[in-house]
């Protein structure tokens, strides 16, 4: 069966006592089965919220609209018990903030194996084998010792690799990796990258990689999504986007990288509002229409989708 994930008309907002804050606006994406998609953008652009909304793990204050189709079903309207069967087994998460993501009073080993045993109690031995194998791949030479430790006994970098294993434990069809290389040095980054690449290649799993690290995205991902303030500005083949960015924001983002001369995006013009295009206040090409409505998504000749009036 086709295991694409297709998001249609996704809107996420956080609601509290006084106001409704939109964080993700009108997102439409197709994640083809087996592909690796990078979600890039600055902090607060809604990357993680987008990922967590697919898993339905946003806090209770979040309001989610839209559909998320997977294997012919809408994940957003699935009964809770059905969704639990999908989580961890079909779609798994490699969470960010690894140290907080691990329960301080349970051993690492149990937290890893329970990814499998929560779905099938009998596969405990399998789970242990898988655990040791993954831990070795991720650069732990003595998996038994790590399994007997607690998160507070390990360094941040070690915990980062543990949560990577956590996401991969149950051979999921899809992995959502939230900042999987944060806080790792070059050597370990390479190791994690290789494991992810391997999983992406050999086990035919699709992956969404949420990251700040454009170099990682470039090396790992087939496709890229560029987010800014909750809107997908540009999506398409990674190579194309990075070589020939279409959207002014993507251009600005790439130019601000150190290797491209570190030219920062200009500060927001306070007279302009972001009620139309989210990038309008900072955009060098802004026209009047940009301030009034959200530009439609336009498909370019090379297949990418851009949300900008320059191409509409």
């Amino acid at each position: 069966m086709n295991a694409d994930i297709e998001i249609q008309g996704l809107n996420v907002s956080f609601v509290n006592r006084c106001c409704v804050t939109p964080v993700v606006t009108d997102v439409n994406i197709l994640f083809p089965e087996g592909s690796i998609t990078g979600l890039i953008g600055e902090s607060g652009s809604g990357k993680s919220v987008l990922g967590m909304s697919i898993l339905r793990l946003l806090p209770a204050t979040a309001r989610v609209e839209g559909r998320c189709m997977y294997k012919g079903r809408d994940l957003f309207s699935l009964p809770e018990a059905e969704m639990q069967k999908v989580l961890g087994k079909e779609i798994a998460l490699i969470p960010q903030n690894p140290t907080e993501s691990l329960n301080p009073v349970r051993t690492i080993g149990r937290q890893l194996t329970e990814c499998v045993t929560i779905h099938e109690k009998r596969r405990k031995a399998d789970a242990q084998k898988r655990r040791d194998q993954l831990l070795r791949c991720l650069g732990f030479h003595r998996p038994e010792q790590v399994s007997n430790s607690y998160s507070f006994e390990l360094s941040g970098g070690m915990n980062q690799r543990i949560v990577t294993a956590l996401g991969l434990m149950n051979h999921p069809r899809w992995v959502i990796a939230d900042e999987p290389t944060k806080g790792l040095d070059a050597v370990l980054r390479r190791q994690v990258y290789q494991v992810l690449k391997e999983i992406g290649g050999s086990e035919a799993g699709g992956m969404m990689v949420i990251t700040h690290d454009i170099l990682l995205a470039e090396a790992l991902c087939d496709r890229l999504l560029v987010l800014y303030k909750g809107c997908v500005m540009e999506q398409g083949k990674g190579e194309t986007i990075l070589r020939h960015p279409a959207h002014p924001y993507t251009r600005g983002l790439l130019e601000s990288l150190p290797e491209n001369g570190m030219h920062p995006i200009p500060r927001a013009d306070e007279k302009k509002t972001d009620s139309g295009c989210r990038f309008y206040p900072r955009c060098p090409h802004g026209s009047k229409a940009c301030g009034q409505m959200l530009p439609p998504e336009t498909v370019l000749e090379d297949g990418r989708i851009v949300r900008c009036f320059l191409y509409a």
Partner: protein, 317 residues
């Protein structure tokens, strides 16, 4: 194992001075008391006369002519041997009285602890599950009220309602086990209020932590997450409270025991304070101080069981 031993040794080493301090305080309570014990022994009715010589002889026999430090040593040694002196008034041995009364107070405290834990933890869990909804509001108001009502007033109302108006339970005394119910409940209410609030906030704190979200991403249901991941972490502050509360119940039971005429150590102590019977007060303070220290050790043992940081010697971090 050595880490554990070190931890327990350190904890015990910290508690030992506490126990010594409590014993000094207990002794000082007697020494500072306004009544003159020699006079009280020689002249229990207040109408007998005695000579200066008789007084000095009695003082020497009671060891009261020695310096305070020596008296304290003797007193403490006596406590260890189980010789706690005799009540000035009833002339009954304090030890015998305590031996008779401690089981009664212990039963009361145990029942009351059970009420506190069941009502408190139960209400806290329900309130946390229904956060910001009707049951949470109701239980929040109830637990707040429970901890704002003075025990003696609850006691009087309970006696009036349950015993006199509806004639369900005995007014006072412990002729049967039902006699324990009202005092135990009275004693439990304020603690249950605190415990409910503590449990609720501990669970909510834990549910907000990221490992809970991650458990969800593995396919855990909410209930499974609470049972397997949250309970251990959330229990830590609750058990800490219950431990100190147990010690508090034995001390704070005095008023409730007095009103319900439960012949436990609390009412014994109150009567002793009122009649300035300081051997009894001393023994009581020492006893409840020891219970406090023991409760603290029990809480520490519990920490070891649930908190791997201590097992692995990370307590100092």
């Amino acid at each position: 194992m050595t880490v554990l031993m070190q931890y327990m040794l350190k904890k015990t080493a910290l508690l030992l001075p506490v126990l010594v301090g409590i014993s000094i305080a207990a002794f000082a309570l007697g020494a500072m008391s306004p009544g003159d014990p020699v006079d009280q022994v020689l002249n229990p009715n207040g109408n007998e006369s005695y000579t200066r010589e008789e007084y000095d002889r009695m003082a020497a026999r009671m060891g009261l002519d020695k310096p305070a430090a020596v008296q304290y040593g003797k007193w403490l040694a006596g406590m260890f041997r189980g010789d706690m002196g005799r009540s000035f008034f009833t002339n009954k041995s304090v030890k015998g009285q305590l031996a008779r009364r401690i089981p009664i107070s212990a039963r009361l405290a145990a029942l009351s602890m059970a009420f506190t834990a069941v009502l408190g933890v139960g209400a806290g869990v329900v309130a946390a599950v229904y956060k910001d909804r009707f049951p949470d509001h109701i239980l929040g108001a109830l637990s707040m009220t429970a901890l704002s009502v003075p025990g003696f007033w609850t006691a009087i109302l309970f006696i009036w309602l349950f015993a006199e108006k509806w004639k369900l339970l005995p007014t006072s005394g412990i002729a049967s086990w039902t006699g324990y119910l009202l005092p135990a409940l009275t004693l439990a209410l304020p603690g249950a209020g605190v415990c409910a609030r503590l449990t609720r906030s501990a669970i909510l704190d834990e549910l907000g932590r990221q490992y809970v979200t991650v458990a969800g991403s593995k396919g855990f249901s909410r209930f499974q997450t609470v049972v397997r991941h949250v309970s251990c972490n959330a229990l830590i502050p609750v058990v800490t409270y219950l431990g100190t509360h147990l010690a508090g119940i034995l001390g704070g039971a005095s008023v409730v025991e007095t009103i319900f005429a439960v012949p436990g150590i609390g009412s014994y102590a109150i009567a002793a304070v009122q009649s300035k019977d300081y051997y009894v007060v001393q023994a009581y303070v020492l006893f409840s101080g020891t219970v406090y220290v023991a409760a603290n050790i029990a809480v520490d043992l519990f920490y070891i069981a649930v908190n791997p940081r201590i097992r692995r010697g990370e307590a100092g971090r």
